[in-house]
Symmetry: C2
Subunit: 167 residues, 2 copies
DNA sequence: TATTGTTATACTCTATAACTATA
DNA sequence: TATAGTTATAGAGTATAACAATA
């Protein structure tokens, strides 16, 4: 159950601000790597790539995972509410729900109170998959903690949450 | 010179793990906001939106800024080297250079040593724009420091750099 | 044979306008 | 009149294959 895959090959030293070229000559990236935006993007890409590898057996993208998780924790909410909470535009959320429904993971139920809206819920299959997905997600989190340590990982999450209030 | 715009309206409290819906009912997002990947993506989007606003007068995207900065700090390198350092695929970097050249910000010079490759450099105009862009970038960094404080901002950059070694 | 720059192309994400059915 | 879901569509960003020129 405990993930051992992750803490293996770690670069022990790296030239702090440079990137290796083909013949070994290094590029100066100091201006970029000292500001928040650039390493933020690189980290996001790395974490999502790692996510893709781990979730390949479950066939879930980050967006699908976050949708399943949010529906599971908020059953009965409609599409607009779930989409808005996840920062997904309503038009783009339609195909998302089409696919989850096609795979038998989630259901839309035309609400009796307001017949315009679709109450969303997970199917039993969807709940099972979400349970398994959260285990896999926990493994990624453990891999991150192997790199950062518990305290720095928690500090990172807190800093990122504050950063999200910038825009 | 010091940016005062940023530290103004900050949410003083927020329900730690929930999102407001239209009628005020809150969604449970606790499972997502406690893992790294989700706030990482939200923070990245927020920082890039803020970047887009600040750089609208200079008409620079994050990718264009990082390209200008890297060429400026590494003049004479060829397209493959600059693109690889920035994680941009060579085919996609062609249009990037086309546009920077069209705007008179950068130049490709067919190398004498290896006539396959284009040595890249900034034009005087490009150097001027880069100087101005770094001032704007410094303002974003100051705005982030208004939110996080100096120490937490530096800790964030360090954590993000480590995270990028995950994939 | 391998590499640099390039073209063509495709696939995903994201964004906007407009329709329909309900309210 | 406004809202929920939907369709159509357009634009980024990102990915791969293949070609010409050069090594």
């Amino acid at each position: 159950m405990a993930p051992k895959l992750a803490a293996q090959a770690r670069r022990e030293f790296e030239p702090p601000e440079a990137e290796a070229g083909p013949e070994g000559a290094l590029l100066d990236l100091s201006h970029l790597s000292s500001i928040v935006g650039y390493p933020l993007r690189r980290a996001q890409m790395a974490v999502f790539e790692d996510f893709a590898r781990r979730f390949q057996p479950l066939d879930l993208t980050p967006a699908q995972y976050s949708t399943l998780s949010t529906i599971g924790d908020n059953p009965g909410r409609n599409q607009s509410e779930i989409a808005a909470a996840l920062g997904i535009l309503r038009p783009n959320f339609v195909a998302m729900m089409d696919e989850l429904e096609r795979r038998g993971l989630a259901e839309r139920t035309r609400s009796g109170v307001d017949r315009r809206s679709n109450a969303l819920a997970l199917t039993p299959t969807g709940r099972e998959l979400l349970t398994r997905a959260r285990v896999v997600q926990g493994e990624q989190e453990a891999a991150i903690e192997d790199i950062l340590g518990r305290g720095e990982r928690e500090a990172l999450v807190e800093a990122l949450r504050k950063l999200a209030t910038l825009a």
